[in-house]
């Protein structure tokens, strides 16, 4: 049976956690061999280790012109690996890169793609995916209509990464033409050393209930105590209290951390669209009827200004 190919994303040779999650999911589903494709410059050293997550082979495109991401260049490399493996499916992690690359690769191969998938199972020779639609107000169960390869992007942090041991055989992809027209000239760090919400395992978000920009310090102190990232509602972003990169929701980032704490956020449907697949949801709101409580696993009805400072102390006690 044909195997599954997984695109592996790296930044400075650090393999993205979400790619390892995709690799593990491929191992759980594959009828045949699982192969990885790793693209970048000076990245070959990271390839054998992909075996630990289930890759039997790791195809590597290593070229200075691939140092920074390029949809065209990376798509060419992935298509070449697909030609070498004739996979039944190609999986991508649904990061900014994966969401950009997967559809370009799919179109290059003349097939469709299933985006933002939160469950992926096998039904005979088809993969069946479940994906949120209408901003999470409904879920669609879909397949790729019998076309192969089946191109799928997986929502990060939904599938478990499992280390099983092993070393991947490295295969070099060469002879790439790399006709790159859209060239990434630089990657500007806008994170300022902070964890991006899209990558964080714990997120503490603040909304209009914070009353002003200075009170994000309170959110930040809880996030720091928990080792998490700071998120925000659109109301807080639109008020200019915090940068848009922190926004969670339909017009912000879609996140699935293990723990999402929403403080002073009402829980509008567009906010829920970005965070309702979080594993544990906590709401802190003074309005017991706020919609956020309907999806919260835990909550405190109360004044966030009175609740968060003792929470920070309690969390610090656990750590200390």
């Amino acid at each position: 049976m044909a195997g599954i190919l997984v695109f592996i994303e790296q930044r400075n040779s650090d393999i993205r956690k979400a790619s390892l999650q995709a690799l593990s999911q491929a191992r759980r589903l594959a009828g045949g061999e699982v192969a990885a494709v790793l693209v970048g410059s000076g990245v070959a050293g990271a390839a054998p280790g992909l075996g630990a997550y289930g890759a039997a082979k790791a195809y590597v495109a290593d070229d200075p012109n691939l140092a920074l991401y390029s949809a065209e260049g990376y798509a060419e490399a992935v298509a070449k690996a697909a030609a070498a493996t004739s996979p039944e499916a190609i999986l991508f992690a649904g990061t900014a890169m994966g969401r950009d690359l997967a559809p370009r690769v799919a179109a290059k191969l003349g097939v469709g793609a299933l985006a933002d998938v939160v469950s992926l199972e096998r039904d005979g020779d088809r993969l069946v995916a479940r994906r949120p639609v209408y901003s999470g107000k409904a879920f669609a169960t879909v397949d790729a209509g019998g076309h192969t390869p089946q191109v799928v992007t997986l929502r990060p942090n939904v599938f478990a990464a499992e280390e099983t041991g092993g070393v991947a055989e490295v295969v070099t992809l060469d002879g790439l033409a790399l006709a790159i027209r859209a060239v990434v000239k630089e990657l500007v760090d806008t994170g300022g050393g902070e964890i991006d919400v899209a990558e964080a395992d714990i997120i503490v978000s603040g909304g209009r209930g914070l009353k002003g920009p200075e009170n994000f310090a309170l959110i930040r102190s809880l996030a720091e105590a928990l080792g998490g990232a700071v998120g925000a509602s659109r109301a807080a972003v639109d008020a200019g209290w915090i940068a848009h990169k922190h926004q969670v929701g339909q017009t912000g980032k879609v996140v699935s951390p293990s723990l999402y704490i929403a403080a002073g956020i009402s829980g509008a449907i567009q906010h829920l669209a970005g965070m309702s697949s979080s594993k544990v949801i906590v709401a802190i709101n003074k309005d017991p009827d706020a919609p956020i409580f309907k999806i919260a696993d835990y909550g405190i009805v109360g004044d966030l200004f009175a609740v968060i400072p003792p929470m920070v102390e309690e969390v610090k006690k656990l750590a200390g």
Partner: protein
């Protein structure tokens, strides 16, 4: 500077979603249809470019009869031309077929820049732009929040985790537009009146050589509402916030094992 803006008509984001009788589509009764919010950034960017550099904005949609309203909205805001490829009900969410139809509809039209929204709200795929660029054999930049267009090339800023990529790209090219790129204008009454008189070019999807539903790349097996959320543990914290905080942290540690 000729721009083509791809737009799609979607349920108002405040709509209550109900599942239709076939269990595969939404019940469209009571839904208000709007121009997909991200397409507004695409249209605004195109209008600003042609205002500064001349040329025309053509809005294109592939959708059922009601999608014409999205085109009228574009015309009212200043688009010069509108093209309606009629159909699209059987291919909802099938990004590759949609991109194929759009690419065929572009044949014979001249453009320097194609603009899409970053995501069609509703199907939530974020794929049509990239696929269309590949089919048109032009480069693309997705998730654009900054744009400068020069002579024969563009520079775009694109948000990624923890950073922003600065991309340079020759024209013709395609971009997908994200919130932050601009502030979309509203249609003025004068524009709305004028839009009523502007023609909308009709194209039958069959005339493009596509038989809808014949060879789908996206098959919806079923559509369901999310499972009802289980009752959470809600602590009353008005009188003793510190006690509630301690109780919550304890539950997160010992019961949820989240910290």
């Amino acid at each position: 500077m000729n721009c083509i803006v791809c737009v799609t008509s979607v349920p108002d984001t405040a709509s209550v979603i109900k599942i239709g009788p076939d269990g595969k589509k939404i019940d469209e009764g009571g839904i208000k249809w709007i121009l997909s919010p991200f397409d507004e950034y695409a249209l605004e960017a195109a209008l600003q470019l042609t205002e500064a550099k001349g040329g025309e904005v053509t809005a294109v949609t592939y959708g059922p009869a009601r999608a014409e309203a999205a085109l009228r909205d574009c015309l009212a805001r200043g688009a010069h031309q509108a093209v309606h490829v009629a159909g699209g009900e059987a291919t909802l969410g099938d990004s590759f077929t949609i991109a194929t139809v759009l690419a065929k509809a572009f044949a014979g039209r001249s453009y320097d820049l194609v603009l899409c929204g970053v995501k069609g709200v509703g199907t939530d795929c974020s794929q049509v732009g990239q696929m269309l660029a590949e089919l048109l054999a032009i480069p693309h930049v997705a998730n654009v929040t900054k744009l400068e267009v020069g002579d024969g090339s563009l520079t775009a800023g694109r948000d990624v985790e923890g950073g922003q990529e600065r991309v340079e790209c020759p024209l013709p090219a395609l971009i997908t537009c994200q919130k932050g790129l601009n502030e979309p204008r509203y249609a003025a009454l004068k524009g709305i009146m004028a839009a009523k008189k502007k023609p909308v070019e009709k194209v039958e999807v069959a005339s493009l050589g596509v038989t809808e539903g014949a060879d789908p790349f996206y098959v919806v097996r079923s559509l369901e509402l999310p499972p009802p959320a289980s009752e959470g543990t809600i602590i009353k914290g008005e009188d003793d916030p510190a006690g509630a905080a301690a109780q919550l942290v304890n539950l997160l540690r010992s019961e949820a094992k989240a910290i």
